[in-house]
Symmetry: C2
Subunit: 253 residues, 2 copies
């Protein structure tokens, strides 16, 4: 049964999507069968691999359509071995639609159960909030991977995220574990970034990945060409660092 | 009566907070009375000017406490002429607390009415979502200022934001207008940034501010010292660009 990893941090713009799309491609490059589930209504992971016009159905329909076969919502990507369930803006309506529904936090978990048999890794990209959508991802996941940008605001928000993770662990998903924390958008030249990085290592200890993802314009460009970093710019720092992160993740699961 | 400007974009990490704290300080430097309202539960604007331990009450209490004098929630900042109503994580509970309340979208507008008499500018920082919190800011505002990062994902999300603004204009706040779009975190050296900038100008036309905010590490560092960019690094590109943006905003209101 596949390992399910949610990529979450309610701070905006810290590299959740960039980590989801490149880590998923790194697993696929190693011959694993990977499913990327986009649970962000902005659909940034989805447009990194698919033409928005080609998406007839999406995560929202899968979570609200009752009992269709969940594989009806799966699309292939240009990356061999990597499939995706895309998100559209209608996913923003999920919370309002499921208000008062006792099993609301379990919708994604239930729908993924069948798909987990067919994939070795399932990665879930989440929006920058701690609402029902992110809770669904945390309930469905075995692990949560936390990207943290090495910047001043980054550290203030992590308490709230850890608190939410503890609440999810207490009742809906006792198996949830923090896979680790990865420092992203890192600029080795600045003192602030180095200081925050040190602080992250102090706060998270052994949970902090050795691999640090530094700022690289190639990572920003690749999604515009619907390519993973490994084919778009194979010798870039982004490609090497996400390959290294992939090795570290595989050693922990 | 003060001009109320909401700073909004549901894409995360595009410089909403950085624009709110520096534009507010720029108005104050010109001798105007300015109030910064932090409506983001992460409280990034708040910690840019206040010690989190000194905040006994916050936006959440102001919006839910019934009829206390709203100025009980106002704090002075280190910047002369700039006051702030800080946010704490409890603001994330606002949506659940106001479910079913007919005047839920008007809470902030009602509570700001008295304060607008005392300030010439009221700036509202918002979270990276389009839920009830951001709707409250859009209903209370006369203008909305949209920071957009010159990156691939930036353009995909603007339709949803403009749609939300139109919905707010249709009923709860017919006076709401788009003040303008400012390009942020811009890196003149990359082709992608230049291309996206051109595209933003095509999409938004005259609404696009002339001023572009380029990437500058000084802007990232200033909040760690609880200083506005104008005193922290007066000769930096960030200080000059936000001063220029302030001039442009004042010419439009
Ligand atoms: N290591 C990096 N080097 C350079 N640019 C990066 C890097 N990681 C992410 N980016 C860019 O920074 C921006 C924010 O990253 P991304 O969209 O992945 O963050 P996010 O956490 O998913 O944002 P949101 O909170 O909106 O979902 C994007 O424009 C992305 O291309
Ligand atoms: N012009 C700039 N140059 C360099 N760094 C910047 C600039 N503008 C913002 N930043 C940095 O980029 C990160 C994101 O900016 P900021 O937090 O202001 O965005 P935001 O839209 O408020 O994020 P959120 O969606 O989480 O509220 C922060 O670490 C900030 O310090
Ligand atoms: Mg994202
Ligand atoms: Mg912010």
């Amino acid at each position: 049964v596949g390992v399910v990893i949610a990529i979450a941090n309610q701070k905006g713009g810290v590299g959740k999507t960039t980590t989801a799309i490149n880590l998923a491609a790194a697993f696929a490059q190693r011959g694993r069968r990977v499913l990327l589930v986009d649970m962000d209504p902005q659909g940034n992971s989805s447009i990194s691999y698919l033409d928005p016009r080609s998406m007839n159905c999406s995560t929202y329909e899968m979570l609200t359509d009752g009992q269709n076969d969940p594989s009806d919502y799966v699309y292939q990507t240009p990356v061999q071995g990597l499939d995706i369930i895309p998100a559209r803006i209608n996913l923003a309506k999920l919370e309002a639609k499921l208000v008062g529904d006792f099993d609301a936090p379990f919708r994604l978990k239930d729908r993924l159960e069948i798909l987990q048999e067919r994939y070795e890794f399932v990665l879930i990209d989440t929006p920058p909030t701690l609402g029902l959508i992110t809770v669904n991802a945390l309930v469905a996941a075995t692990y949560v991977l936390i990207p943290i940008q090495s910047s001043f605001y980054a550290l203030e928000g992590t308490d709230d995220l850890l608190e939410t993770i503890e609440k999810v662990k207490a009742r809906p998903n006792p198996n949830l574990r923090v896979l680790g924390v990865v420092v992203t958008l890192h600029d080795r030249r600045t003192t602030l970034a180095r200081e925050v990085h040190e602080h992250i290592k102090t706060v998270f200890g052994a949970k902090t990945f050795e691999t640090v993802i530094t700022k690289s314009v190639r990572l920003e460009e690749a999604p515009a060409y619907r390519e993973a970093i490994f084919t778009f710019a194979p010798n870039s720092s982004g490609a090497k660092e996400y390959a290294k992160l992939c090795e570290e993740v595989m050693s922990r699961v």
